[in-house]
């Protein structure tokens, strides 16, 4: 336990001093501010691009448009930046040999994986909360109409982000290189997208947590439709972490 706490502190210190936390914070903050702003300015933007004399009726933007932007920007930009930033979590340490000293001090190998997971989770959560808070603030400022089931939709996207972080850890242990980890997580996401072509799978796929959030807000999907994807996501998370720990236990360093 001592080792786990000490190593988690080290990971958080690393996040801070290698500017991971700041980069992620700035990217997510920008996404949070941009989403309501684009929704607000969209009609004017489109209007200014239209040729003179042409008119187009565009519906007045609402809070819903702001959240649509949020659930488009965060998975497309935010999660990609997160995955790239955390891709070298394991491989960096293995290739530089920095783990040798701490492991020979008696640090449990599972602590390495779990501490890295916890620290990445905290860093990602901090950035995500910042993004959400900024988006919520501006959305409430511009529009006053309420959006139902928003907390669930936001939590779902967060859960998917955490799943990606766990897959990065497993990829890092499997392939030893940052590119390997990226490729593994990329491959995992592509597989989810391919499986989503089958309508029967869509109901179960954890991809729903990051892709169907707007349907949840608009009422096309009910909260109960997210139950199974949440369970599958949780199970996959446990499997990824378990596999990463047990493979890492057998790794020659």
């Amino acid at each position: 336990m001592n080792g786990f706490i000490a190593f988690t502190k080290k990971e958080l210190c690393e996040s801070l001093r290698t500017y991971k936390l700041i980069i992620l914070g700035i990217v997510f903050l920008l996404l949070g501010i941009m989403s309501p702003l684009t929704a607000k300015l969209m009609p004017e933007l489109i209007g200014s691009f239209l040729p003179e004399g042409m008119t187009m009726s565009i519906a007045e933007p609402t809070a819903m448009d702001s959240w649509m932007q949020f659930f488009k920007n965060v998975p497309q930009i935010g999660l990609v930046v997160t995955v790239i930033l955390f891709s070298a979590m394991i491989s960096g340490e293995l290739s530089r040999g920095t783990l040798v000293n701490v492991l020979t001090k008696g640090l449990c190998r599972s602590s390495v994986i779990l501490a890295k997971f916890l620290a990445a989770l905290l860093t990602f959560t901090a950035a995500y909360v910042l993004c959400f808070a900024a988006c919520l603030g501006y959305t409430v400022l511009y529009w006053h109409d309420p959006v139902s089931l928003l907390p669930l939709a936001v939590f779902a996207l967060w859960a998917f982000g955490i799943l990606l972080i766990a897959s990065l850890l497993l990829g890092g242990v499997l392939f030893r290189s940052g590119y390997g980890a990226l490729l593994f997580t990329g491959g995992f996401t592509v597989c989810l997208f391919l499986l989503n072509f089958f309508p029967q799978v869509q109901k179960f796929s954890p991809l729903r947590l990051a892709a169907d959030n707007v349907s949840l807000l608009s009422g096309e999907l009910a909260a109960s439709d997210f139950a199974i994807p949440f369970v599958i996501c949780g199970l996959l998370l446990i499997v990824f972490l378990w596999a990463a720990v047990s493979l890492f236990n057998r790794k020659q360093i």
Binding site: C13, G97, V100, T104, K105, R109, I253
Partner: protein, 305 residues
Amino acid sequence: MDTLCIEGLTKKFGAHTVLDEISFTVPEHSVFGFLGQNGAGKTTTMKLILGLLKADGGQIRVLGEPVTYGQTKTNRLVGYLPDVPEFYGYMKPAEYLKLCGEIAGLSKKEIARRSEELLHLVGLEEARKKISGFSRGMKQRLGITQALLTRPKLLICDEPTSALDPVGRRELLNILHQVREQTTVLFSTHILSDAEQICDRIAVLHQGNLALCGELSRIKAQKSANALFVSFASAADVSELTASPYLLPYCSQIEVQGSCLTIRSTDIKPVQQAVLSALYGKGLFPLKMEIQEPTLEGIFMEAIQ
């Protein structure tokens, strides 16, 4: 009691056998020199002792406890200095030692006291910058600090002197010599004079086997293939001496280098007698005449042939 006991240790990388059933023991409070050419398997053996690599056969015991691969409990007894120690560059030395101390389960007070003591010992007490700005020599010093932090019963150093300047090397050897009171030292090197200065026992690893192992003084005594060295003012004197009938029985053991000659023999006394008779007979006067003791270098070269 033996601090380290290795029995029948085997390690293969693919089809290549790096270690082939090697066995040796390191008694308590000794300084054990682990010699061998580059790629002989010194680092591999050390990593096996630390449970970082999986052995293909044999057993390793540290203070009687078996070493297990993966979850290595015996590491609490061991301090390790890798050949090129790597640190988290964004940390300062004291912060790094704090991390190591916390992982090892030392109290805050103990960590602070030990860190100060050891940083002073290696001369890094003034270094307050981040480790990323350290030279290789400074990293080596910090490496020995982290290895000694937990007061290990067995200190393993992988070529500790290879990156250091002559002054740093001298200091590091002194440190290793000092800590033998509290711990047992196993260190690998290919700088033979380093081993000769501080080791009481050595092992020579060659092609996966121990070519030689034991107390240095005893090995030296056994390998008393001594040599008689004679030097003259001119090469002409050398050829005149070698032509002497007294030296006929030894002509196959004579090596001539310019105005010097060396005669190797397991029994040096009759050689001395013959050379003195020859010198007297020919009326030659050497500049210098001495019996050469076996050096570690000689022993090493002989072992790996």
